[in-house]
């Protein structure tokens, strides 16, 4: 992952809060003084269909907001892995919701990060915050936004939001962040790719 720019594709079912997750990352980047862009996939879609969006965080002005080869893909469901897995830049990262996506034969030239986001969200008492668990986890890897930036940007993302919602969203960020911090996401292949220096 380049330190100057992070190109991210986020994908999942409609209803999993994919567009909002993208907005969280973009708003946080803006809060942290970075250049950002956010583009949704939009189409004649409906609940239960697929949704994805593209986010760029950058230290420099963003020329093209379009992303052909993402540095990172955050996949919330199985079809998203199938759709975007092969597009990830060599040396990039696939962060996936292991509550809904089983471990499988992935490419060995990318970093794999397994987060049981839906289960963590259930434990927090609200399955709808799985997307924000992923945001917290991503902030641990990002060189452009931090966990603190996420927390600071949150009130702007939910104007008029209730205090309980604010708290559970923050808790979701924290759980995702801690999961990565405690290196619970690592498994055989990942350790192997770290040794290879990828």
């Amino acid at each position: 992952m380049s330190s100057k720019v992070e190109r991210i594709i986020l994908a999942g079912f409609g209803g999993q809060g994919i567009l909002f997750l993208g907005k969280v990352l973009a708003q946080t980047g803006m809060h942290a003084g970075k250049h950002v862009s956010w583009i949704p996939s939009y189409g004649p879609e409906m609940r239960g269909g697929t949704a994805n969006c593209t986010v760029i965080l950058s230290e420099n002005e963003i020329a093209s907001p379009m992303v052909t080869v993402p540095d990172t893909v955050i996949a919330m469901n199985r079809p998203s892995v199938a759709k975007f897995n092969l597009k990830i830049k060599a040396g990039g990262m696939l962060m996936y919701n292991s509550s809904l996506i089983e471990r499988q034969e992935f490419r060995d030239d990318i970093r794999l990060v397994e987060i049981p986001a839906s289960e963590i969200a259930e434990e927090l008492g609200n399955p709808r915050v799985a997307n924000l668990v992923m945001a917290g986890a991503y902030s641990k890897f990002s060189k452009l936004i931090t966990f603190e930036d996420l927390v600071a940007a949150l009130p702007d993302l939910m104007p008029g939001g209730k205090k309980e919602m604010l708290e559970i969203n923050q808790a979701a960020f924290k759980k995702g962040f801690d999961f990565v911090e405690e290196k619970k996401y690592m498994f055989g292949r990942y350790v192997y790719s770290v040794f290879k220096g990828i």
């Binding site: 973009a26 803006m30 950002v36 949704p40 939009y42 963003i62 907001p65 379009m66 052909t68």
Partner: protein, 361 residues
């Protein structure tokens, strides 16, 4: 400048319009521009403005004609098929010299097409679009910030030239979010238009009339030459006068062996292509027309003397390329690369086209 906010392009147009003194919006929903009427449906009542979801596009554009004739700052927006429906009204508005802002968030055509981004309405936008000898001033933003800035500029140009101004955007620019600094609000005074039907000033001693009906042949010819002269004034101002720098952006053209040409979202992709070319030792540059009519021909007339090739890239089968060819006038080769039907070309595809031209072996 105000603090930046993260907004969709469509919403940025809406907020900028309100801040530019627009208090009247008439439209009919269509993807991918519906966030704009949705935003204004909520926002205009807060500033005692009027939002009407009309029964059709035809009704909406004629409501714009009415409010504009009264001297108000007024706008409508739509996407390709809806803008086609509005053309009759736009012709009347141009004939009667009524200022207004029109927004086309272009989608794939022809026909119903699809809701993906496209640039295939260039001809319709820059050749008038409806019947009769007329032109609309066409602005082409390439970021959410410019969606806001050109909305404000659009209202000012419309008033200055008493002419409809068209903001030509596309599905990506309308749907994407970027940080934007919104313009400061202004107080717009309807009485600033002495020709308006709503003019209430003291020196009013005769009734005003706004019309495009000139039944007498000589009268209509005189009117049409009057419009033509106005378009000439606009062309001069945008090619060599005070708006010369507003009309076009040049990037690394001075030493370029190949100059890429594109507007709107394509110009952003081309900037990335130029960076990649330069890294690989290809001297590439970029011309981005920000105003599509009057077309910034002067830049091409000048740069054809120093460059070897032009490559025009569009999300269409090739429309603006004709204006580039007219400006270059056969003196240098003008190549074209396009994707259509709602497909956005990738930087890799375009780089490949550059290679074919610059390194044909």
């Amino acid at each position: 400048m105000a603090e930046k906010v993260l907004m969709k392009g469509n919403e940025a147009i809406g907020e900028a319009a309100v801040r530019a003194g627009c208090r009247y919006y008439f439209g009919y929903p269509i993807t991918p521009q519906s966030e704009l009427p949705a935003y204004l449906a909520k926002r205009l009542p807060e500033v005692e403005g009027v939002f009407v979801q009309a029964e059709s596009e035809v009704a909406a554009i004629n409501m714009v004609y009415g409010a504009g004739s009264a001297g108000a700052r007024v706008m409508t927006s739509s996407s390709s098929p809806g803008v086609s429906l509005k053309q009759e009204g736009i012709s009347y508005i141009a004939g009667a010299e009524i200022p207004c802002l029109l927004v086309n968030v272009v989608r794939g055509g022809p026909g119903l097409g699809n809701i993906a981004p496209a640039q295939s309405d260039y001809w319709q936008a820059t050749r008038g679009g409806g019947h009769g000898d007329y032109r609309t001033l066409v602005l082409a933003p390439n970021s959410v910030q410019e969606m806001a800035d050109m909305t404000v500029a659009g209202f000012e140009f419309a008033d200055r030239f008493r002419n409809p101004v068209l903001l030509l955007s596309d599905g990506v620019l309308g749907q994407m979010m970027e940080p934007v600094s919104l313009p400061d609000p202004i107080d717009y005074d309807v009485d600033s238009k002495k020709w308006g039907l709503g003019y209430q000033g003291k020196d009013k001693n005769e009734r005003n009339l706004c019309t495009s009906i000139f039944l007498d042949v000589d009268e209509l010819e005189e009117h049409n030459w009057h419009l033509y002269q106005k378009y000439q004034v606009m062309t001069d101002l945008f090619s060599k006068g005070e708006y010369k720098d507003f009309a076009v952006e040049e990037h690394l053209c001075d030493d370029a062996e190949i100059i890429l040409v594109g507007y709107g979202i394509i110009s952003r992709i081309l900037k990335t292509v130029v960076e990649k070319c330069r890294k690989r030792g290809i001297k590439a540059g970029l011309i981005r027309p920000k105003v599509l009519w009057p077309f910034p021909s002067q830049v091409f007339e000048r740069l054809q003397q120093t460059t070897s090739n032009f490559l025009v890239v569009e999300m269409s089968c090739g429309q603006m390329v004709e204006d580039v060819k007219l400006a270059v006038n056969g003196k240098k080769p003008v190549y074209f690369f396009g994707r259509t039907g709602g497909t956005i070309p990738s930087d890799f595809e375009i780089l490949n086209e550059v290679d074919k031209i610059v390194r044909p072996d």
